[in-house]
Symmetry: C2
Subunit: 294 residues, 2 copies
């Protein structure tokens, strides 16, 4: 990855940003502008925000794989990055579109696996066309969570114990194809994230925390812990938090949020941190695990 | 545990069954009758089924800890078993009731921990009063899941892979205070059980399986895997499945259910197996993990 970034650094071509929903595409563009690197934006129709579309150099349909590849290849970019959410297309539409480019059995295997699996397929397709895929970490490391406290607050002892229990749990889950977040209180795991995503998991934790539980108040030291799995391809699958995560975590009764430093994106950092401070939540960047495997 | 069971076997006193909701208390009583061992039933008012109450030798309120202890001690039982569900009482009520018997700080610590924690507290209270607590495994081993196929159907290859992925996941989760069940499809984990219980987890998996996913049909090889954690005290916290589990798993789109043999109760086995056969689900008792720690 470091080598790839270095190559992109020295290559004369622009960085191509394939832009889905949200502010991330323009945050990356701004970071590249600031670093004096040129970039081009390929907006995905129906997903890219209005501001992104105004800045876009070209626009494609989500399922127009041929058009996207043609545009990207014509730009001869130093690297391509996929940024911003898109709804997963219907599997039938996806299969029909991609079928021209890849072996159908490989596609079936892709489609029946997890999202990880599908994203790895998209990545392979881009790379087969000579495009080098880069991640936010390579292009805009300043958008990633730093180590240590991000806002004004620090975890108390109970929250620290929960953060450690959550960290250990996610490390245990790392070899399995399962979510990368959990809600923990007093070392007890209230919820493990599945394909439903962080917001729905927090809604579940909120419902559980409201049941008669413990001393009749929300369970002590309730926290959200989120981080990448070992071996997760952060170029296409990056854990992220933002203002909405902070709001939902506060509603669930969390005292704070701990994320993997360097492997988790903090969207709209200033706003996210200010909101956490205002709602009384700590934000913490966890150091990498001590294991040599990380 | 083997020693405890042997002592109960040879002791002249009856086995005392503290009976909550459901059929388990009478299933244990029937197994003891069949084995020629005497038993007495202490029904919990408002929870024990009508049939259990008719068979009961005495009845107590859930929070009448003093009354329950007095009755149990008067029976001089060879052992006590806690059988059948009770709703967790409100924490304030629980604290007030138990406060006379245990140090308040210990109670606070109990109440803020997981259910495991609370059950261990109840267990300790009984043992402090000289009562020996026995589990279903000791008293009615025939109610536990055997190893291998329980019904007419066996898992196909996809389901077998999911069962193995679920088994490995639950083994990884074992050191953490989290649920003992998961729904897995194509090696991907759709849901991990938290304090919400198996039924709600299955409802979540059902919703996820209906989203556009994979090839537009329910994900391949979807299964429910359930088993005890390492070190779980099976006397007071026994994984269980029954007809309702089979119905909910079928509704979610599961091909079958795999449970830990010897550590999972199969309620109403004949009905459970017949229902699984009728709905086309396999039921499988998993062998113990190969690790020496089990």
């Amino acid at each position: 990855m470091a080598a790839a970034a270095a190559r992109a650094e020295t290559s004369p071509g622009p960085v191509a940003i394939v832009a889905g929903a949200g502010r991330l595409p323009l945050l990356i563009a701004a970071a590249l502008d600031q670093a004096g690197r040129s970039c081009r934006v390929l907006a995905i129709r129906g997903f890219a925000d209005p501001a992104t579309r105004r800045r876009a150099d070209a626009t494609v349909d989500l399922l127009d794989v041929r058009g996207a590849l043609d545009t990207l290849c014509a730009w001869a970019p130093a690297g391509v990055t996929l940024a911003g959410a898109v709804a997963r297309p219907s599997p039938a539409a996806l299969l029909n579109t991609l079928a021209a480019y890849r072996n159908r059995d490989a596609l079936r295997s892709l489609a029946s696996g997890g999202d990880d699996h599908l994203l790895r397929g998209v990545l392979a397709l881009l790379e087969e066309h000579g495009l080098q895929v880069l991640g936010v970490r390579d292009l805009a490391p300043g958008l990633m969570a730093p180590e240590g406290r991000l806002g004004a607050l620090a975890p108390d002892e109970a929250a620290e114990a929960s953060v450690e229990a959550g960290r250990a749990l996610l490390a245990s889950l790392s070899p399995h194809d399962v979510g990368q977040a959990a809600v923990v209180a007093s070392r007890r795991v209230l919820a493990v994230e599945g394909p439903e995503g962080t917001d729905r998991m927090l809604a579940r934790a909120r419902a559980l925390a409201r049941r008669p539980f413990g001393l009749g108040r929300p369970p002590a030291g309730m926290v959200l812990v989120k981080r990448a799995k070992d071996g997760q391809d952060l170029r296409v699958d990056l854990p992220a938090i933002g203002p909405r995560t902070v709001t939902r975590a506060a509603e669930a009764g969390c005292l704070g949020i701990a994320v993997g430093s360097g492997d988790t994106l903090v969207l709209d950092r200033a706003e996210t941190v200010a909101l956490a401070d205002r709602l009384g939540l700590f934000l913490l960047g966890l150091p990498p695990d001590p294991e040599p495997s990380r």
